[in-house]
Amino acid sequence: MSEPLVFHFDIDGEDFISAGQASIQIKKNLRRIGLDPEIIRRVSIAMYEGEINMVIHAKGGEADVKLYEDRIEIILADKGPGIKNIDEAMQEGFSTASDTIRSLGFGAGMGLPNMKRYSDEMEINTEIGVGTTVRMVIKLA
């Protein structure tokens, strides 16, 4: 199998206002490649929510988007506090975000559910005090 095309981003966790730049760049890159607009939309929304989460909860991290022949994988890795209870975090409306983040239009407990909604597969590996890695797959076929 041929090597995937990989796009790597360092996600700056200092500034919520600038969060989302990597997702915009991915959208541009995938458009340039000429993928189906619906696939591009799903990838960019899933990544955008993930990027926002990393900035809100983990002071940033790293994002890799891998383009295979049959799928796109988005891998988001952070060194944040970890997720205490994944089942709880997956519920729509559950959030530990601050009021400041809520006042900016996020932190309503829709991040992880939206990421799951727009991907075909999603795995979360998390360890308290060590960090969290989320892998999402969007199938192309």
Binding site: K27, S44, Y48
Partner: protein, 117 residues
């Protein structure tokens, strides 16, 4: 309707991308919670909101929206306008409140048609 019709109905001021006022929009949504826009909005042309920060523009980019209307005379900052300009999104503001602005557009034929994905 065209974006220029929306502008006239809301008596709105345009901040960027006037060249796109002739583009067609078939639907719109009114929302301050960007995660809800990301969750539930599909095939909408315009976003009406009282939230003013660059994430509104990024959300619009993600959802392929082509017009943002800030309600209650809220002024977009230059970084918001610049980000919208880079992405070809028309930005405007209106003195009307969100409810009223949505009502005017709805009663002039721009219905919501929000679908769960």
């Amino acid at each position: 309707m065209k974006i220029k019709d929306l502008k006239e109905l809301l008596d709105a001021e345009v901040f960027c991308c006037e060249e796109n006022l002739g583009r067609q929009i078939d639907s719109a949504c009114g929302c301050d919670l960007m995660s809800d826009v990301l969750a539930y909005v599909k095939d909408q042309g315009a976003l009406l909101t009282g939230l003013v920060n660059p994430q509104v523009v990024r959300t619009a980019v993600m959802m392929d929206l082509i017009c943002i209307v800030f309600v209650r005379s809220k002024e977009p900052t230059e970084d918001i306008v610049e980000l919208a300009r880079e992405n070809g999104i028309v930005v405007m503001n209106t003195s009307k409140r969100l409810y009223e602005a949505c009502g005017i557009l709805y009663s002039n034929g721009l219905t919501g048609k929000v679908k769960n994905s």
